[in-house]
Amino acid sequence: MIPELGHFALMLALLVTLVQGVLPLLGAQRNQPQWVALARPATAAAFLLVLFSFLVLTWSFYSNDFSVEYVAQHSNTQLPTLYRISAVWGGHEGSLLLWVLMLTGWAQAVALFSRRLPEAMVARVLGVLGLVTFGLLAFVLLTSSPFERLLPAVEEGRSLNPLLQDPGLVFHPPLLYMGYVGMSVAFAFAIAALLAGQLDAAWARWSRPWTTVAWVFLTLGIALGSWWAYYELGWGGWWFWDPVENASFMPWLVATALIHSLAVTEKRGSFKNWTVLLAIAAFSLSLLGTFLVRSGVLTSVHAFATDPRRGIFILILLAIVVGSSLLLFAARAPKVSLGGRFALLSRETLLLVNNVLLVVACGAVLLGTLYPLLIDALGMGKLSVGPPYFNAVFVPIMLPLLVLVAAGPIARWKHAEIGPILRRLWPAALAAVLAGAGLPLLAGEWHAYVALALALAVWIAAAIVLQTVERFKTGKPTASWWGMQIAHCGLAAFVVGVAMVSTYEEERDVRMSPGETVTVGGHTFKFLGVHDVRGPNYVAARGSFELTKDGKPLRTLYPEKRNYDTSAMPMTEAAIDAGLTRDVYVSLGEPLEGEAWAVRVYFKPFVDWIWGGCLLMSLGGLLAAADRRYRIRVKQSAAATAAAAGATA
């Protein structure tokens, strides 16, 4: 009975979102205050209904109700409680329900924190979100209901894929979805502004913090996924350019362009059409990502269950949502004013270059991801595009971006001079050259690639230090100023991590018998042997490796090879000794003859800087979104907008 209540709540929510999607939009267009006033209550009702339904599903998992097919497919009485809860989003149906829950959650947050916005604007934003939610709810109810019964019930469920039984994967999907779904808010603001014919600085100011928060979630979600792949898959890589990874990376690239372009629109009123287009694109790519992952049109190491019906449904949804938005864009964009003029050398131009580079990079990733599909569609065979393609294309596109990151915040709006920029940045340039020449020698052999990367990282970091010193002379910087600098610092740290680990990492697959040693990157592993241990729902062969450096013992590492009770697949659990400047990593391969094992050892210099950099970027984003200028009263911002309009006219 309880699962039926969840199903029923979803159906009610479908009706409520229809109201939320239609009446407030019409009301705002026709100036009907009572219809506009429906937006907030409808949003709250939709959120509560979907939340209820989600809790019902969680309860079915918690209480091991195997008469629900989805529960029987993804859970098991032996599963630890934490994973029984996270199994809710361990499969397609539950993931989608989580998607919808977050969508209604974002809408509810907009409803709560938008008291200072004009009611008609709020009604339009919530209305657009309501329509998107309606589409997704229809998708859930028609093709992927998690409440389907399996009668008679099975006695025991099939359990969760062991790959997903990991703390990293408990949080990775929710964070990633928060980011994906958060892009819908930026999208809704853009569509609302197009509908109202009100593309102005005020619109950019309203949607900026929402976009930044969504971007923070997306960054964290991708970073966590990458970290999980690094320690859980046992391959030691942190990014594989797999279609599923690309599906989350493309919206990130466009969202990054969007938060920069919103800055121009807010401060200078320029790039309005471009910003709207980016907001539409960021959400479209989130939907496209969902389509690619869920429809199975692309092969991926993440083997999700696929169903062509679902693929068609998402494709239709994508076509309706994006197609109608782009049509609206084409109709409204020609009437939008151009905004503030700017010189060829100005902060506007630099941010435009940033945008072009990010969008081109996204296009290159999209092309590489869809190329196998294209060739197959043309009947020219089946093929795969390897990571070397993405590296060969992506890195050169990013290099000019890294050069300009240091100059952008220094350049003045409207009109900048090359002289002052150079005068202020020459110490950073000097530091960069010295770093490029010297630092790689400390790490080992000098390579042009790593020298360039380190020089760029130091260039960015030194420029930030210079700006900070100067900024303190003129007064206390704002939170959003700090946010930008910290995020850029994160980028520098990320670049260091990528360059160091891809140049100096060492990897060895060896056969080891107890007592034997192997050395990578100055660290020696001594294999002590393997014994069996029993976990809550698995049996593991646990290896012991004594780690020493220069004869000094550091610690003992225990990699495992697990056999879960409900799965025939063994699982590798790597053991990692993490450090600020290096990780050492050992994982067990297969048992060989006697007591020997195939063992994989890695030395990964600076690999943690990659995720550290992502954390810094997220932190910067949070600071920027928390800036108090987003919380000042609407009257003031409206006055400021009027002043800006007067100034540009």
Partner: protein
């Protein structure tokens, strides 16, 4: 020409590509069995351990060969469809009970209905390997000469049954 229509144009091309892509299946390892004679075997029957079954017995008939198991959740999904289809008598259906326990298989059929002319019993999965069975369920349509004409990986859906299996079976039966 409105230059702001350009994004829409690009998007339409993209959607067209994806729509075509949906009809392709990158997972499909092209099955070389199609158009080839069904591999021969001889195994005991599920309900009569002392009798055996071999595909040779079906020569001269168009028949459906369905691999199933009691432990397979997806098989439960397609089973009602097979039961309905069995009642129409279009073609005989032979089951292959794959890596199962004999009593489990018999109990499962008793509970959910038995659309099969008979079920062959492949305890250790030998037959499955010859047929390239990746997972359960899988279904093959075999013609009068014993040649495999169609293979369905995963559960049969009403669409597959209506649009592929039934027309092909009627065609072959002519």
């Amino acid at each position: 020409m409105n230059k702001f229509l350009l994004p829409l144009g690009i998007f339409i091309v993209l959607v067209a590509l994806l729509a075509v892509g949906l009809n392709l299946n990158p997972r499909e390892v092209p099955s070389p069995l199609i158009g080839k004679p069904a591999p021969d075997f001889s195994v005991p029957r599920l309900h009569a351990a002392d009798q055996s079954f071999s595909p040779k017995e079906m020569l001269g008939k168009v028949w459906l060969f369905n691999v199933w198991a009691s432990w397979c959740v997806s098989c439960r999904e397609e089973h009602p469809l097979l039961v309905e289809f069995g009642k129409t008598g279009t073609v005989p259906i032979v089951g292959l009970n794959y890596k199962d326990k004999r009593e489990d298989g018999q109990r499962w059929l008793a509970r959910f209905g038995d659309p099969y002319l008979l079920s062959a019993y492949d305890a250790d999965g030998r037959v499955g390997i010859n047929y390239g069975v990746y997972g359960v369920p899988e279904t093959y349509l075999i013609d009068k000469q014993g040649v495999i004409r169609f293979k369905q990986i995963g559960p049969i859906t009403p669409e597959v049954l209506q649009n592929k299996i039934i027309p092909l079976a009627q065609e072959l039966n002519k």
